[in-house]
Amino acid sequence: MKAIIFFTLLTFVTFVHSQSDPSFATVDVTLDNEQNGPLGQRISLSLLSSNAKAIAAAMQQWQGIQVDAVTDSSLTITTELRPRYMGEVKPQYSAATFVIDLDEPSTKGFTSGFVPSDEAIFSVDEVQAYVSEYISDATYIHGFNFASTVAKQKSGDCTEFAVLTTALVRALGKPGRVVFGTVLIDDPTGVTAYGHAWTEVFDNGNWQIIDAALYGLAEDIRFYLPGSVIENEGPGYGMSLAAGIMLMPSKLANVKTATL
């Protein structure tokens, strides 16, 4: 009986992170009554979750997110568009691993196909463009695939984009890691949020976000709310995925532009 529970929960967990507003990844959003017009470059909001304290603790690792208040069921934050991770650059973020399997032929084939316009310059835009074009079949049907599988299938959602992007930046000699969280988007159709995955790359002394899954979409205001990182890139990566969903909010409330 319990094995069935493990299987089912882990299978469903993988559907919660996806590329663009799939039904299971959508997080309910309500704007503050005072919010009129598009959101600014900095917002305040409440995240509702039974794991609010754990989410607050995790978010403190990113510069640009200020945790203003925490209760058992919610936390209020002020955040910038792209918070910057301030933690250490661990050796594993540069390694070939079970999940980011740089040594597999299909992964090598993918990474060797990337030709930068200038060998001396690491371009986030060029990496995003290459991965975005490489994964020709954007689909939500996959659970969670390794870099070599994505490189072979050229198919997937945001997790596959993030895994392949991480493989590429590591192959280019840059530390990289897969981040799970929530993305909040303000575009002409309204404000939406959903579970998402992206890559963080360490370049020029700073961590920065690379999001090949949403590359090339129309201009919008996009806030990244990080939650967790795949720290276990071995065969037990499933537990990292499960930990990720535990740090997802059930709702974003009182969203409004924050004043400095």
Partner: protein, 408 residues
């Protein structure tokens, strides 16, 4: 499939509604389509059906005829008085109820396009469901499709049902719009012929329905039998059909076999999972030299490991015994180690089983690493229903069939 089974439709607006098992609200369609969707028929005929390799000999609803047989596949048509017959396949080699049914639906859609001489121009998940025929769980997927464009556009619905019985898989499809009950009754009759052909020697058997945010996504089933030595064989299957957007469906079929001692300790086990038509993982665990050894592969990558944990592992059978022990004893919680390859194949998982008294319809909880499941267990630790609510997702498990007790 007959041409008359599809409906000319210049434009049927399709919106995805992920809140009900009918994913497309019927009221959003033109009235003539709504009328067609709810039409039914009374099936008055029955016929003799036999299939020797599976020891099947029974009377089934409708007029059944073998249309084709090759390489472990039997293809039948069953006339139920509608324009198109019900088409049923029997496979003795297959991926599983979710993957194989999806493949058959794909063939049916290709057939519809070919028959109409117009390309397939759209497919939408119309409805998903799960349930049981007797003790056999089934999956259901209805697909709305379009062929052609503009004034040449036509629409139809492929209804599909799938169930795995002893050593074979039954998949039925019906391409007439409407007749949902008639189709289900025909399928149920067909599956019952297989279910009734074998003796059920399980001392405990259960089926659970899975739901996410109130949409049925599939089932898990388990079956416990005792061998001559008194050990317990546990066979479990899980089949999930998740409509991830308006037209795509993620398919997962998993099968496990493990052995337990009567005290609830694991002897050995093996498992495999097929996702979207591809073998995703395959693992086995056994004990030798007082250590646990795991071997297998995931996404084609080999895994061979010896667990750091060397103590006894709780089997699925043991999980029932321990739940019952907790219910009957003084302790409020108990900790165990289990092997859960989907979570981590190379590490024994420490789980905690707790009694709960402050939540409605909940008397137990299980903590599995970062995951927590609240559930209600009846006498003998039998799982009745449970929920994992986290983030935007509520995953529900509900018992829809149970026979016997998980205790010798």
């Amino acid at each position: 499939m007959k041409l008359s089974t599809i409906i000319p439709a210049a434009a049927i607006a399709v919106t995805f509604n992920a809140t009900a098992k009918d994913l497309l609200p019927l009221e959003s369609f033109p009235e003539w389509f709504q009328t067609s969707m709810v039409r039914e028929t009374a099936i008055t005929s029955t016929s003799e059906f036999s299939l020797a390799p599976f020891n099947v000999k029974a009377e089934v609803i409708g007029d059944i005829a073998l249309a084709d047989n090759a390489e472990g596949t039997w293809y039948y048509t069953i006339d139920i008085g509608t324009n198109a017959p019900v088409e049923c396949y029997v496979f003795n080699e297959y991926d599983g109820p979710a993957n194989s049914m999806h493949a058959v639906v794909g063939l049916s859609l290709d057939g519809a396009a070919e028959l109409n001489g117009r390309p397939l121009t759209g497919r939408y998940n119309y409805a998903v469901d799960t349930g049981v025929v007797g003790s056999t769980p089934y999956l259901s997927l209805d697909t709305l499709y379009h062929v052609g464009e503009g004034e040449n556009k036509a629409s139809g619905v492929i209804k599909a049902l799938s169930a795995e019985t002893e050593n074979s898989l039954q998949v039925c499809v019906h391409s007439d719009v409407g007749y949902r009950k008639a189709f289900f009754d025909t399928f149920a009759s067909f599956v019952s012929a297989f279910e009734n052909s074998t003796e059920n020697n399980a001392f405990f058997q259960s089926v659970y329905e899975m739901r996410i945010n109130d949409i049925p996504m599939g089932y898990a089933s388990e079956r416990y039998t005792k061998d001559a030595d008194g050990d317990i064989m546990i066979q479990s299957t899980t089949s999930l059909l998740v409509p991830v957007d308006a037209s795509a469906v993620s398919r997962t079929d998993s099968a496990d076999i493990s052995w337990s001692r009567p005290d609830g300790s694991l002897i050995n086990g093996s498992t495999y999972t097929i996702e979207n038509g591809v073998m995703a993982s395959k693992f086995a665990i056994k004990s030798s030299d007082a250590k646990w050894h795991v071997e297998g592969n995931i996404q084609g990558k080999t895994v061979e490991a010896q667990l750091a944990y060397e103590g006894w592992l709780l089997s699925d059978y043991g999980s029932y015994l321990e739940t019952a022990n907790l219910q009957e004893g003084e302790a409020q919680s108990a900790q165990f180690y289990m092997w859960a390859p989907d979570a981590d194949p190379v590490t024994a998982m420490n789980i905690t089983l707790r009694q709960v008294s402050d939540k409605k319809d909940t008397n137990m909880a299980i903590d599995m690493g970062p995951m927590k499941l609240d559930f209600y267990a009846e006498e003998h630790g039998i799982f009745k229903h449970g929920v994992m609510a986290q983030g935007p997702v509520n995953v529900y498990m509900t018992s829809i069939y149970s026979q016997g007790i998980p205790s010798l």
